[in-house]
């Protein structure tokens, strides 16, 4: 049961352009949504989060958009830089007496110089 899906395994973008990473979820009860960035052989790094009551959160070059009616969120990176090349994980958090964070399978982003 994949409650969080990232349907694009990879994405290639030119430096300076916008990168858009997408994520779909099935459970409307999630409280928060998050994006993590991961380099090979390292642990994921927390990037940005959004509460389920918001539709946008911005932090520097990173903006997350949440469309609750479509159960869809996206991460926009503007402008994209070669150092952004990594695997990006979408995650959804739900507290039901225990902590539950469900991760997507990840999207590998390549930013070409």
């Amino acid at each position: 049961d994949q409650q969080v899906k990232q349907n694009s395994p990879s994405l290639s973008v030119q430096e300076g352009r916008i990168s858009i990473l997408n994520c779909d979820y099935t459970n409307s009860m999630f409280d928060y949504f998050l994006w993590y960035k991961k380099y090979p052989a390292e642990g994921p790094t927390f990037l940005i989060s959004i509460s389920s009551i918001k539709d946008k959160n911005e932090d520097g070059r990173f903006t997350v958009f949440l469309n609750k009616s479509a159960k869809h969120l996206s991460l926009h990176i503007v402008p994209s830089q070669p150092g952004d090349s990594a695997v990006y994980f979408c995650a959804a958090y739900l507290y039901t007496g225990g902590f539950k964070t469900i991760f997507g399978a990840g999207t590998r982003l390549f930013v070409k110089a």
């Binding site: 409280d31 993590y36 052989a41 964070t101 991760f103 399978a105």
Partner: protein, 113 residues
């Protein structure tokens, strides 16, 4: 600032051997602690979490166990490893009240042969 340590970084163990992976967090008190596993090409799967010393919750029944002997120490163990236990194991911590925002260690690559 807070830091999280995991060791070893890589481990090759034969089937049927025991396992002990250790995680310690510095710079914070009473963190929530988590163990995740990432199988090849997959997202992160939550294995265990702990809200305090001696308090362990298991998310997925399996061949593994976890313990929290001290406030900032989290240990993942197995008495007899299976081939299916191979993967990338990640420890993470979060601050009470912001459990959706988790901070990961560098991970341990475990190969069971």
């Amino acid at each position: 600032s807070q830091t999280i340590h995991q060791w070893p970084a890589t481990l090759v163990q034969p089937v049927g051997s025991p396992l002990s992976l250790e995680c310690t967090v510095e710079g914070t008190s009473n963190p929530n602690l988590y163990w995740y596993r990432q199988a090849a090409g997959r997202g992160l799967q939550l294995l265990f979490y702990s809200v305090g010393i001696g308090q362990i919750s298991s998310e997925v029944p399996q061949n593994l166990s976890a313990s929290r002997p001290q406030d900032r120490q989290f240990i993942l163990s197995s008495k007899k490893l299976l081939l299916s236990d191979s993967g990338f194991y990640l420890c993470a911590w979060s601050v009470l009240g912001r459990d959706y925002e988790q901070y990961f260690g560098p991970g341990t690559r475990l190969t069971v042969t």
